[in-house]
Amino acid sequence: MRRIQTAIDPKAAAFRDNAARMQAVVADFKALQERVRHERPQRDIERLRRQNKLLVRERLDLLLDPGTPFLELSSIAAYDQFNGEAPGANVISGIGVVSGREVMIHADDSSNKGGAWYPLSAPKIVRALEIAIENRLPVVHLCDSAGGYLEDLSGVYVMGGRVFRHQCILSKLGVPQVAVVLGHCTAGGAYVPALCEHTIMVRGTGAVFLGGPPLVKAATGEEVTVEALGGADMHTTVSGTADYAVDSEAEGIALARELVAGFSQPRKHFDWADAEAPYYDPRELYGILPVDYKVQFDMREVIARMVDGSRFQEYQPGYGVTLICGWARLWGCKVGILGNNGVLFSDSSLKAAHFIQLCNQIGTPMIFLQNTTGYMIGRTYEERGITKDGAKMLMAQAGSEVPKFTVVTSGAFGAGYYGMCGRSWDPRLIFSWPQAKMGVMGPEQAGNTLADVKLRQLRRERPDASDEEVAELRRRTREKSERETSTLWFSARMQDDGVLDPLDTRNALGIALSCAANVPVAEPRYGVFRM
């Protein structure tokens, strides 16, 4: 396979300026992520230390194989919501290596509000389990949650149930789960360990019950201690709800590692070869990616810094040129890549629909590199059937059975986001880059439209509104639309699986492909393509 020939000059001043701007955006994101991961009230940290509990990141360190990558999902979930009381939605989820096996990890973070489940906590666990189901990944649950957040129980109730439903589905599929109970698992939370194949409880701090001692007293008048009601010894010698009682968190985690070591290793599907590093320096991505989504860049330059040996077999290089399609290897795995190089036209849409079918014919996973302002509009294009050609792209995707992965590299707007396998189109994983922008409309368009509507309202209610008031309203709506089209906003609301440094993307996709390879690809079956 031939190597992509780069057209960029990393020594050029414009390139270096751009790299500096992009690195600043990435550094800002990393600083934010660091705060979400580690900034906690001192009071809570002291409380955990008093209880002889480890911080959740310390537990992860013990659980994971040293020196192996951990692909954390939705790391900044909820950071800007709930008054900052649920950083990361009080849950850590991600794919890691335990005793040589790829597993999904769900760990409650009790360093804030006792690890209570906020309205985004259950969706985060549900998403992790969904990924585990699709990729047949065993799950390790590190349970330590105060339970549903009492101020917003209605927001937790329905989605909470889906955690338990997904656990049952995993078991039905023959994918084992291990729970280590490191705190109280009360009410619904009690089902997490109960539904696992293997359950470990830590004496003293771990407890499992449908109703805790205060609730029991209120309901029946019975007075009972935590240990007697749902402690490790009771459940492992009397009720049989748990399997192993241990004396410390470290012992429990070591035992979980031993249990995972007993799980069978899945056979890997897809076409794998020896991996090769990209020929071009991936750090050059910083200089290639514009901070402003309106400035176009050649997606081939991005592909060249992500795939093995920078080699790419481009499909139909002369047709539908605003969409690049082709094959490459990523960490050795053969993949089909679809990347935007401009607006989607009829020809690029047809090319996409055809390429998706080609990838399905040979069982090759697909990677979508999004940089789209949508499908071309205008009379000429409607007459040529831009809408029905976009519909073909969607129909091909819905019929596709090979795993799909999506990276939002710069812009993701309008229906282009759907056509290029946005979150609503079931990519196995979807990541965004920190400077990217997304939304139904671009920030300028959304801001102006909203401002116009609000201005008409203002003038109706108060015809004497001053110029300053009008300017202030325009400024506020503009700020709002800028903020709400940032990928940080979308990621905080779990509309993707996380924001990534562009440099980490090759590794993240490598992990994703390795997990997806656990499952054989089914035969595609398509609906009706409007011709």
């Binding site: 031939r2 057209a7 309106k294 176009q296 036209f345 949508g374 071309m376």
Partner: protein, 164 residues
């Protein structure tokens, strides 16, 4: 198909096969028995026909450096597909608008010599700034647009002088 190696300005097509006595290099001038014995630390003993020598060999991507008898030779492995595709390339005679839109800036003037891939015109359409680049090397004959112009699809923005 034989492999192609570029040494200086010349391209050599050759292939390697297993012979009865060892490896044989098939060159343009006939077969040549050869061997390459690694000595460690990028050093090799090369033998080709009757000749023998020690050399330092390094490789990065398609480029190979051979330090032999006090001289360094740079060899590029050329994919035959690249060589064949380049031979048949004639290029277009202008740069066209890939979509209807507004011209933002024009970066070249008539008479300018440009290289393939050089930026010619920046236009805006569908929220995107698109840079139109030179499809091949050449001299600009005329520029047909100015900043602020609305141009239709496939409008020729810049035309090139005919190759001489």
């Amino acid at each position: 198909m034989k492999k192609i190696f570029r040494l200086g300005e010349t391209e050599h097509a050759c292939s390697l096969r297993r012979g009865a006595e060892g490896m044989v290099l098939e060159t343009e001038t006939g077969p040549l028995p050869c061997a390459l014995q690694p000595l460690g630390a990028a050093r090799y003993r090369i033998s080709a026909g009757e000749e023998q020598a020690e050399a330092l060999i390094a490789r990065h991507g398609e480029r190979i450096w051979v330090r032999l008898r006090g001289r360094t030779h740079v060899i590029d492995a050329v994919d035959p597909l690249d060589a064949l595709a380049a031979a048949g390339h004639h290029g277009g005679d202008g740069a066209q608008a890939p979509m209807p839109g507004t011209i933002v800036s024009v970066l070249v003037q008539p008479g300018a010599e440009v290289k393939a891939g050089q930026d010619l015109v920046v236009m805006e359409s569908m929220k995107l700034e698109v840079t139109i680049r030179a499809p091949h090397d050449g001299r600009i004959a005329a520029v047909h647009c100015a900043p602020g112009d609305q141009v239709p699809l496939k409008f020729t923005l810049v035309s090139f002088e005919a190759a001489t």
